[in-house]
């Protein structure tokens, strides 16, 4: 079954290439030079130590929201609440960092990160509990909880954290920050912080969780065939709740790391953070493989960071990048069409099970 292993790489790569082609066509139609703009994009994302640092920093929350989505999806659940969970994580971490700033250095960081992650976990566990005990669709509940999170955080920031008439909290103390002089000096003063290293570590942990642990085996079994898993004696309810909890913890961790490493405070926002939704795309592009998520989040992050410089060095609008990412997701979604094309040109093996029952 080598073909299967290849196809796991072939389809995403074909989608990515097709996405760039679509972007190029649109640039041509509107009179921009695709080669020059894609060149700028590349330079903007990988062109120097600073841009690399920014790209990696931007990867951090993407990796974690994607992992969160992957965990719930493996269990067969569609957790669209990554955005709200991320926001709760961000909020939880910053609140602790601000209010308990008397705690000693590293301890403060750990407690802040943990409370952020936990708040994200609680947020999605609500949907998990409702699903497990009442059969409520997690799609609906997680979407609704996103808005509850958004308005709750806005309310809390405005009333409890921000000074009168301001829209954002104070900046957290330096000892609670994840920024590091070392990482900054390595990347010509980019905002790269320790959170990135932690995110990579979590990828590895989740890979082990999926592929090597008893709990991961149960998670995958239930996601693939709940009834057979039940017959094997697995506790479906427990696993669902656990999966949703872990899923939310990961998204919350993404928010916590972004809050402590990138933003250093929290402010009122008009809309839900986009990173929660981008994480879903990243996870789908990687077919929920935690190690694949590192690669696909690198791509998304590079597009986002590089896209900003596209409009700096030429007059092409940054929105081109959104078209490219959108197209990539579109092509992933119509994977089936690629399968037919591959079959036609015999790049893949035939399905043997067509031949009789």
């Amino acid at each position: 079954m080598n073909c299967k292993k290849y196809s796991a790489l072939v389809f995403p790569l074909m989608s990515i290439v097709s996405g760039f082609v679509v972007g190029a066509i649109i640039m041509l139609v509107f009179g921009y030079d695709p080669l020059q703009n894609y060149g700028n994009l590349l330079v903007g994302s990988f062109g120097g130590a600073y841009s690399i640092g920014e790209t990696l920093r931007n990867m951090t929350p993407l990796i974690l929201t994607a992992l969160g989505f992957a965990v719930s999806s493996k269990a067969g659940f569609f957790n669209i609440g990554g955005s709200g969970q991320y926001l709760m994580g961000w909020f939880g971490a910053v609140v602790v960092a601000l209010k308990w700033s008397w705690l000693p250095g590293w301890f403060l960081i750990i407690v802040s990160i943990m409370s952020g992650a936990l708040l994200g976990g609680v947020w999605s566990a609500i949907a998990g509990l409702l699903r497990a005990y009442c059969g409520t669709s997690e799609v609906i509940t997680t979407i609704m909880l996103n808005y509850v999170a958004l308005y709750f955080v806005n309310f809390a920031v405005k009333n409890w954290l921000a000074a009168q008439g301001h829209d954002s909290s104070a900046t957290i103390t330096a000892k609670a920050s994840l920024r590091s002089p070392l990482l900054a000096s390595l990347t010509s003063n980019s905002t790269l912080h320790w959170g990135f290293i932690l995110a990579l570590l979590v990828c590895l942990i989740i890979w082990i969780y999926f592929n090597r642990t008893r709990a991961g085996f149960e998670l995958r079994s239930i996601g693939l065939n709940e009834r057979a898993a039940q017959y094997a004696g697995m506790n479906v309810r427990k696993t669902i709740i656990l999966a949703m909890l872990i899923s939310g913890i990961l998204a919350g961790l993404g928010g916590a790391l972004d809050g402590l490493g990138n933003f250093q405070n929290i402010s009122v926002s008009n809309s839900l953070p986009q990173v929660g939704y981008d994480g879903m795309a990243v996870a789908i592009l990687a077919s929920y493989n935690p190690l694949g998520i590192i690669l696909s989040s690198l791509l998304f992050s590079a597009l986002q960071i590089g896209g900003m410089s596209m409009s700096v060095y030429s007059n092409a609008p940054t929105e081109i990048v959104s078209i490219v990412t959108g197209s990539i997701i579109f092509f992933i979604a119509i994977k089936y069409a690629f399968e037919i094309i591959l079959k036609k040109y015999k790049l893949s093996y035939p399905k043997f099970n067509i031949a009789g029952k």
Binding site: R214, Y231, P350, G356, K357
Partner: protein, 515 residues
Amino acid sequence: MVQTVVEMQHITKKFGNLIANNDVSLKVHQGEILALLGENGAGKSTLMSILSGLLQPTSGKILINDRIVSIKDPQTAKALGIGMVHQHFMLIPAFSVLENIILGDEPHNYLGKIKYIQAKQIIKQMAQRYHLQLDLDAKVADISVGMQQRVEIMKALYRKADVLIFDEPTAALTPQEIKELMQTFRILASENKAIIFITHKIKEIKEVADYCTIIRSGKVIETVKVSQAGEEQLAEMMVGRKLQNNVQKQPVKQQKLILNVKQLTVQNNGRSKILNLNLQVHQGEIVGLAGVDGNGQEELLAALTGMNKVTSGSIQLNGQELANQSVRKFVESKVGYVPEDRQAEGLILSMSVAENLALKEYYHAPMNHRGILNYKYINSFAQNLVKNYGIRTQNVYETVASLSGGNQQKVIIAREIQNNPDLLIAANPTRGVDVGAIEYIHRKIIQERNQGKGILLVSFELDEILKLSDRVMVIHDGQIIGEVDPKTITAQKLGLMMAGKKIGSVQQEVTKSEL
């Protein structure tokens, strides 16, 4: 000379290097019933997919009414009068029977308004002509599997099919429904329709088919006149070797009680699905549970595996009370279960053979060590089972979905027997597998019995029950209504009991009918 309706000449179909059909030829005449007999994976379905336009042959010719045709797609097949009734019905559950029949070919006026009344009349007349009982206004979701099949048949007839292809039509039917279907076959044949049906059940062929084409490994072995061929001859041609019949049942001495079900009641939405049911299984015996589908078998199995809660009563295994315990508790109390629907309940299709084999033991040592699974052990464990149980797979990392039905069933049986159960529950263990695999599964079940295991066999195949069981219990309407001796009971008597007649009255009726 009767008109030849379908003739396939030297059809070869290749998928890459795999030859699914190799120089296959067959012929069907008007009013004739042709059975296509072969094991799983022999190439029957591929051949019929070619005829119905789903696949294109690599080489060979197809003649319809003596004219060479090229069947490019299912629409062409339909236009040529070829109708297919698939094993898994292609119906829309939320639509009525009438709507399903006319779907895609609705009679309508120039504004597009569907003429339901006219359609209904036409279909009513056709139903009368072909003796097909249909409730046109019922929703497909609410009707029985047998009627759903009749809807499929009517769909094909409504589209003026002259050739009807059936893919394993009896796989999901009850004995009564099978009988009705056979009757329908005869009526259709008498109305000059040609019928091709794919099967691996030799009894049905003997009962209804005129000719039988035997296919093995993609090649036609022979086409025989059914009236001139014996059942065993057909079976041997299909599998290509002599079948070893019957593992000897050894008498088992110790008769320790293993399963003791007392006064079991299971209610669902306030209705009693099982009422005060008593059932015992001893060491070294096979207890067959005979009954028409839907008489509480499903609920009993769910209670005996811990899947569903019971309302009252007790389930004791080796003296230990297990009613309302978790599934895992049942597994650990040494209850093995071969579920009825292997793909939905027994296996996780997109997982590997190894992981499926580990499904009942993954959580404890030596497979699990502090939450981390020992895949090295799991894989070698699986390799052993694959070898010992003759599971045909390239390696243990293949997905179970890539195995044939018979080999999938072997995976389940290997797993359940490996776990060394005291009680083995088998629910329709041979459903939809070929003769070779049936033979193997029966042998394994008897072997387990000979080793002193208690076995509860629930099956809709009366032959299977009568062949394997030491005792037969008849279930009707959630109650055991009698126990019979499989050696002396006739199928007729058993059939009456399954329909709800108590033993006494059965004796009377049988004597009456004999007079």
